[in-house]
Symmetry: C2
């Protein structure tokens, strides 16, 4: 038997626990598959006293995670602490500097410093692997970097945050509003006490930034992402979407445009004919459109102990098998410095919901504003009549430019009969 | 720049042409991603005179494909000739013997001789790679061998033959029968002049055999697969499936049972709630259920020039990057010699359609036969009344054993009022 791959794990939360369990439960299986044992040598976590549902017999405990980077009996540091700064970042940097491979599930860190970390690792001849950072149960980083490597990627998009997808699915199924469903999700453990990271789209944007780097061989550019969350999606919009043969999904999208790479995270109207419209609950899905392969979609659980541990261990087996790869499809020094396509220039169709006083002339006024901005209507829907209060009017447009649509919406919002700012949701065509 | 990976391609049909085009069009992209150029050195095909839509300037033409195995200026032989015997097999064997890596799209060859080929390659220290052999547009071999390597696979199943899926989708959409839709598919180029390889399930079984090997680390066992095609699926059954909230799909399935690995290819009733029920037309999909990752599904085009070339080139880039891997998840000498679970012991639910004379007592007779075999009914459906001719009666059962179900069906078929042998379709639960 060959020499074992010796690993140190920093962070023993849900994911870290899963990794320890998987390595223990499947140690024989893994050593056959990897051609050598994968041995957990040391761990580090905040509290040693905490009750855990796995044993750590014979595993060294390090009070300071940075000690894992220094240890001479460790080949790979598995960073499962999280956060884009602080100890996680220092640990990754130190491990690389000490010539150790790094496996991490830390999307925030990669979104912020991915290209520099990749460069540092490459210079030192070690790997930075992060299958677990994006959609744990879906080996999509490997797919982009290896399985679809022969393609120029035209576009990629995905449901990258299970919490948001669960909330939107539940809103649709129950007809309840965002706040109610969020509160329930928090009670059920599907959403954090502070949900902003998820529901404001930040987490999805972190993942998108990482995927975009791997798909386009470009420097990770989190700052170049246009991000909107799901807080403003109303039960009414979800019902209208249904009526229009669509689903509202929080998608992360990246595509080549003449102005650079367009990256955006926001609620989208997705036609029911698109397979991704049917991904429900906590599942994630990623669609990759390549010039040779065409459209391919991957779906699975995006988070949770088992799926994320599965991803971490896949990276460990790769390393045990001797695989040291560029982190983002091309060598880090060859990563392209691509411009971020400005959102104003985004071209697409729109859904606009207006709340209007039910009186003659409103629709004419709205229509003429749209016409003035050269926006042509695809459909109009009015639900009910209410001479007293406001009624909802829904318009969908043909393809137009974001800047134009925003100006038109602003002017429409200033009409006297329009009682609240128009709600705009982009319609995606796949 | 590092030394190029030098390749020889045998077979310049649809796939071979795609590989040449991809290598040409993306030569710069690939050399950056692979860290070295991938250079097409020589080709071999049946007719040199044939008009082709790609250029082969500076590429050596070999009249005898075996010359590619002998050439000292070739590192990888790409076998795209096809067929489980004859020149394809000799070429692969010879290439391995001469210390060359092999990339192949040949599922028939792998289904028949996969384990021996893997063993020969391993002994010689070369790779046998075959992402293109199964569901070209879906990097599922890589997913099983690497991305999901940390899991014990419980079950895998997929739509592995685009022709069958196209025929079944079209039958459902148009209400037309098998023969008519097949004839149209042949005219449109979606089915071969001799369709038996596809519609009798052989092609899907070849692919299943390969996937099973990679998923379970077991010797490829094509002979152990229970195979039924789609010729006997009637328009009536498709309509009944719809009524029952199901789709009829030709699936290849493999799972662990107490009796060994169960492998089967046959038409299945798939509940609409299962994502795979919605894979339509020529698309393929593969679902992998792992003990840590849970359920994950991959979908994409299964065949065609672009997708298959994408898969071949992914294997080439892996080799250019220095990746030499066991062909089937574990070293070939460690492949398990697993028993094939006998189909008689299969346990599952069934759909049974009977054509019966519309007279009193028939249902009672049928029910009592089922009861005698301890088969309990889940539902019964009768469409229309016809005192003159035969009417269709559809039964669905709870879980039971294949042998039992077959015996019951046989006895039911002998009832005087039953006018033709019962049609049985297995109902899959996901």
């Amino acid at each position: 038997m060959n020499a074992p791959l010796r690993i140190g794990v920093a962070g023993l939360g849900t994911v870290g626990g899963g990794v320890v369990k998987l390595l223990t439960e499947h140690s024989r299986l893994l050593s056959v598959r990897a051609g050598r044992p994968i041995r957990l040598v040391a761990v580090s976590a905040r509290s040693r006293a905490k009750k855990r549902d796995f044993a750590l017999d014979g595993v060294r405990w390090e009070r300071d995670p940075l000690a894992l980077a220094e240890a001479t009996d460790i080949d790979v540091v598995v960073e499962l602490i999280g956060g884009s700064a602080g100890v996680a970042r220092r640990l990754v940097q130190r491990a690389i500097a000490r010539g150790k491979h790094v496996v991490t599930a830390n999307k925030a860190l990669l979104a912020m410093h991915g290209s520099q970390i990749a460069l540092a690792a490459e210079k030192r001849g070690v790997a930075v692997a992060f299958e677990a950072a994006v959609a744990g149960g879906i080996p999509v980083v490997k797919a982009l970097r290896e399985g679809l490597v022969g393609n120029r990627v035209r576009r990629l998009y995905g449901i990258l945050n299970g919490t948001c997808n669960y909330i939107l699915s539940t809103m649709r199924e129950t007809g309840r509003d965002f706040a109610t469903v969020l509160a329930e999700a928090q009670q059920a453990g599907y959403a954090e006490a502070d949900p902003s990271f998820d529901v404001d789209g930040i987490d999805a944007a972190h993942k998108l930034a990482v995927l975009t780097g791997a798909a386009f061989g470009a420097k990770v550019n989190f700052a170049g992402i246009h991000v909107e969350g799901i807080r403003r999606v109303s039960a009414m919009d979800i019902a209208f979407a249904d009526e229009l043969g669509h689903r509202i999904k929080l998608l992360g999208l990246a595509r080549e445009t003449r102005d650079g790479i367009e990256q955006r995270v926001h609620p989208c109207m997705v036609p029911l004919a698109a397979p991704i419209a049917h991904i429900e609950g906590v599942f994630n899905a990623v669609v990759v459109e390549g010039d040779f392969v065409g459209t391919t979609m991957f779906q699975g659980r995006g988070a949770g102990q088992g799926p994320t541990a599965s991803a971490v261990v896949a990276d460990l087996v790769d390393l045990a098998r001797g695989r040291v790869m560029p982190a983002f499809v091309v060598p880090a020094e060859r990563l392209a410095d691509r411009a971020a396509a400005p959102m104003d220039r985004h071209v697409g169709a729109y859904y606009m919901r207006l709340m209007v006083q039910d009186q003659p002339g409103v629709i004419a006024a709205v229509s003429s504003i749209l016409a003035r901005h050269h926006i042509s209507l695809e459909s109009m829907l009015q639900r009910g009549r209410s001479p007293e209060g406001a009624v909802a009017v829904v318009l969908t447009t043909h393809s137009t430019q974001e800047a134009r649509m925003r100006r038109a919406a602003e002017q429409i919002g200033r009409l006297k009969a329009v009682t609240e700012p128009p709600c705009l949701i982009r319609i995606e065509q796949f």
